[in-house]
Structures are given as C-alpha cells and as structure tokens.
C-alpha cells in the first residue's frame, strides 16, 4: 500500500509549508497538490518525498502539458506523479489529447493526425518545419506515474463522499488511486483493498489531521498483522 496526503490546497505559503512538513513527518509517501506541475515543482523543493499535481486535459495543447510535466519531473529529481482530469465536454477531444500527451512523454518522434489535433501542424504559412517533433527535455522518470480521474467512481474528485462501497481495481501497472477522508481507519482500507495493491490519498486539511492519520494508518498499511502493542504506543 502507498499513502499520499492531499490534495493540499494552494492557500497561504506558510499554511501549505506547515501541512506539507507535517505530512512528511507523518510518513506519507507523496504530497498531492490541488494545482498544476508548477506548484508541484515548488513544493518538491521543500520536501524529500514524491509530489503529485492535477492536470486538466482537453483544454490546453497537450504538448504544453507534456512540457510542464517534463520540467517539473526534472526539477524535482524524478519525484512527480500526476492526476489527469478530463476537462472538455467531448470525450473524443479528451481521448485524443491523452494520446498525444502519452506519445510526447514517451519521447517518441511524433507525427499525429487526428480529428482534433495535428502535430506538427505543418501549416502552409509556416516555412521550414519538420515532419515530426519530439518533446524536449523529457521527464527524468522513464514513465511518470499518471492516473486518470474517473468521475463515475469514488476517486479524487468525489473522495469526500467516499464510503465503504469503494472498490479497488488494477487496470495498469499502477495501483488504483483513491482519495479517502482524513478520519478513515486502516481496517476499512485493508478490507477494501483485499489482495490488491492500492494507493490511498488521505484528505488531511491540517497538520494535526495529517499527523493523526499517519500515526493511525502507516504501520497497519505497510505491515500485515501489525501488532496490537504498537497501536497503543
């Protein structure tokens, strides 16, 4: 099991620092931010753990998104994770942007012709342009861990309404990412996950909540049959 904290609100810098520091001290593996890669690049300089960013897909050119992700991953030394949030009403647009984003982040030399995008555009008015282009620089990680927000499931956006009805599914090499309330118990998470790997993001809104959640969850989620005597320390 992996444990994240967040999504942390990008309010005042002092509040954000205090919450981030508390989450690190409480043994969370990743700090998820309610903001773009630029915010993750900043917070990654404050903490030694992984950082997560939320990225809207379907509005802005996917090459801009890929560039943001690559530079954030480089500046944080390969510690970036991203949640891709569909933000266009047409699923076809979102799907195509996802495909171009994935191709760009892979380092491929891209020549994409779709319904909504053409990359490179090779517009007649532009002079000497290449037949293909590639994202540069590339991310540090061979593959930046990325999840896609599924609005119909208990996930990042609807997590505050999370209940025991949550299901864990493994549809890629990554465990499912599930946002949980700050007061969730380890037993609930373990029961929901069963034998599947899972990545729980705890919605802690204050340093005190982050510390309490870390004390309550870190041991049991990382070790089967966590001893009772340790719970009472």
């Amino acid at each position: 099991m992996k444990l994240g904290a967040g999504p942390l609100a990008l309010g005042s810098p002092s509040d954000l620092r205090a919450l981030a520091q508390a989450a690190v001290e409480a043994s969370f593996d990743c700090l998820w931010l309610d903001g773009p890669p630029a915010a993750a690049a900043m917070v990654a300089q404050w903490v030694p753990v992984r950082v997560g960013a939320v990225v809207d897909i379907g509005i802005h050119h996917p090459l801009h998104i890929a560039e943001d992700i690559a530079v954030a991953d480089l500046t944080c030394g390969g510690r970036l994770e991203v949640l891709l949030r569909p933000a266009h009403e047409d699923p076809g647009v979102v799907k195509e942007h996802m495909q171009v984003l994935a191709a760009a982040l892979s380092g491929a030399h891209i020549q994409w012709e779709g319904l909504h995008l053409r990359v490179p555009a090779r517009l007649a008015d532009n002079g000497q342009v290449p037949q293909r282009l590639a994202l540069n620089p590339r991310p540090m990680q061979p593959a930046v861990p990325a999840w896609v927000l599924d609005a119909e499931r208990a996930s990042f956006a609807s997590a505050r309404r999370w209940s025991a009805g949550m299901s864990i599914g493994r549809r890629s090499h990554l465990p499912e990412l599930v946002l949980c309330p700050a007061r969730v118990e380890a037993s609930e998470l373990l029961e929901a996950a069963g034998e599947e790997p899972a990545y729980f993001v705890i919605a802690a809104d204050s340093p005190a909540e982050a510390r309490a959640a870390g004390r309550r969850l870190a041991g049991p989620l990382r070790m089967p049959e966590f001893p009772d005597w340790a719970r009472s320390v």
Binding site: L10, S12, P13, L16, G35, P36, P37, A38, A39, A40, A41, M42, V43, A44, Q45, W46, I59, H60, H61, L63, H64, E67, D68, A70, V71, A72, L74, T75, C76, G77, G78, L117, R118, V119, P120, A121, R122, L123, D125, N126, G127, Q128, V129, P130, L133, A134, L135, N136, P137, R138, M140
Partner: protein, 305 residues
C-alpha cells in the same frame, strides 16, 4: 539549460544546476534570476518557464525569479495568468514575467499556430495577461520583450515596462525608448518605474583563459539563434550557410561586455544612464564549464553586492 554537442550533460543535471545557480545568486546578493524559453530543441532548453520558476522559488527564499522571456503567443493566456498568480502568492511576490513574440517557426507550428499571426496574438493576449497579473496578490510585474521600435510602441500603448533584447546597441536602444515614450504619452499613461535590459556579460580576472573557454560556446549559441531566426535558404550550401551565420556572430559579439568587474560595472552604468534600471546579465552561453560559470557569477556578484 543546454546540453550542447561540445559539452553534453544529462538534462536532469542541467536542471539541478539551475537550482544550485539560483542558490548561489541568492547568496551573492543578486536581485533576481531569469529563465528563457524555447521548444522542441534537442539540448534540454527549458520550454516551461513557469514550472522552472516554481522550482527556483521553492529552492530559494529571497531572490526574485523572472522569465526572460516567455513566448506569450504560443501559450494559453488564462493558464499563464492563473499559474503566475499562484506562484506569486506561494513565492510571496518574487515572480516577474517578461514576455515576447517568439520567432522560430517550428515552435509556432508545433502548437498549431502561424508565425505570421504572432503580433496579432500578442496584441490580443498581452492586455489580458497584464490585467490578470495586476489583479494578482501580490501583483506580478509584466515586462514586454522588445527588439524593435514597433514592439516598443505596443508596450508603450499599454504602459508596460520594456525588456530590451541583448543584441541592441546604444543607438537602437535610444530610438526604441523614444518610440515607447511617444506611444505611452499618446495613451495618457504614466511612466513605468523601471525598464529592463538584457546583456551578455562575463566578468573575468583572466581574460585570455576565459576567452578561450567562452568563445566556442558563444559561437555555438550565436549560430543556434542565428539558424532559428534565419534558416538555411533553399539551395544554399552548408558552407555558405555557416559563413552567413558566422558573419552575424561578429556583429552580435560587439555587444558582449567582457572584462574585469570594474570594467563591466562601468559599461552597465552606461545602460542605467540610458534609462534601464534593471539589467539582466546573461553569463551562461551554451553549456560553460561549471567552474568557469561560477567564477563569472561570483565576479558579477561583487557588483550586485
């Protein structure tokens, strides 16, 4: 951040070096550190200035961070404005935006844009960005990158300060400032508190040693920029094209300020007297050896301090 053929480096090291350089600049008393932008180039050139700025802001505590310059017509202005406001808030007012047109056709084309539309896009986007940045808390200062009188007039009509290109000489700068002032006064706007100027500057205590280190990198950098603004013509041989690029290098090198701290300081004060209160000194050309670059930054830091 450039991993050049004559001195390749892993891109992750270049971005790590950026953070180290920012910390060094802060410790030496510089007011700000500036980032430039280009896209789809093999060497690691930063294409996402605001993300890199976020990292620098997080890594430092006092120094300002600016973009010199962001190629605004290629960007979604609402995204730029929102992220700049967010970074200004989290960075406690240390972010400044310099924005300009951009010129390299493959960059426009990559984003589905026409280079010929860049001025029209700038005219549409710049006022919106300026409005968003003025409303941010803290306010994000916006400078307009210029290399011509026409571009200066655009900035003047909005009353935004200039960020003058490094290749302009004194006469060109005076002409540009006059065009700016005329446009600003016609618009009935107050003068900005300060204009900015970028210069190629290298402080040395051993000119022979440092010139031997510097010249190949300067030549590489100027060939690269020259090839972007003036691509090889159809039918032009590689030899003829290189000769054409190299001829331009000599003209551009005339604007380089290279000398002792005292000599450099005297030259920079000339630009201050012209009306540029903020001078952004570029001392990294291509990918200089770290020790050499550090010496130059420390030398410049003696002026900053």
């Amino acid at each position: 951040m450039q991993s050049v053929p004559q001195r390749p480096d892993p891109h992750v090291k270049l971005y790590r070096d950026l953070l180290d350089d920012a910390a060094l600049a802060e410790s030496l008393g510089f007011d700000s550190i500036w980032l430039s932008e280009h896209h789809f180039w093999f060497d690691g050139y930063c294409p996402a200035d605001l993300v890199a700025a976020g990292a620098v802001l997080g890594h430092t505590s006092r120094i300002g961070v600016g973009t010199a310059v962001m190629l605004l017509p290629m960007h979604p202005v609402d995204k730029v404005g929102a992220e700049a406001a967010m970074l200004s808030r989290l960075g406690e007012g240390r972010l400044t935006l310099g924005v300009a047109l951009g010129y390299r056709e493959p960059e426009f084309d990559g984003f589905g844009l026409r280079r010929k539309d860049r001025a029209r896009l700038m005219d549409a986007l710049l006022p919106r960005l300026a409005e968003t940045c003025a409303a941010a808390q803290p306010v994000v200062p916006v400078y307009v990158g210029v290399a011509s009188a026409v571009a200066a007039q655009r900035a003047g009509r909005l009353g935004l300060p200039l960020f003058a290109d490094s290749t302009m000489n004194h006469a060109e700068l005076r002409e540009m400032l006059a065009a700016y002032e005329a446009a600003r006064e016609a618009a009935g706007l107050p003068p900005p508190p300060v204009h900015a100027l970028q210069r190629d500057v290298f402080v040395t205590d051993d000119p022979d040693r440092d010139w031997a280190m510097l010249f190949p990198e300067l030549r590489y950098m100027r060939r690269q920029y020259g090839s972007w603004s003036s691509p090889q013509a159809t039918g032009e041989t590689a030899t003829a094209y290189r000769e054409r690029l190299d001829a331009d290098i000599d003209a551009k090198l005339k604007n380089l300020i290279f000398g002792s701290a005292g000599e450099v300081g005297a030259k920079l004060r000339e630009f201050e007297a012209l009306g540029f209160g903020l001078i952004v000194c570029r001392s990294q050309f291509g990918n200089l050896p770290r020790a050499g670059l550090r010496r130059a930054i420390e030398g410049l830091g003696r002026l900053a301090g």
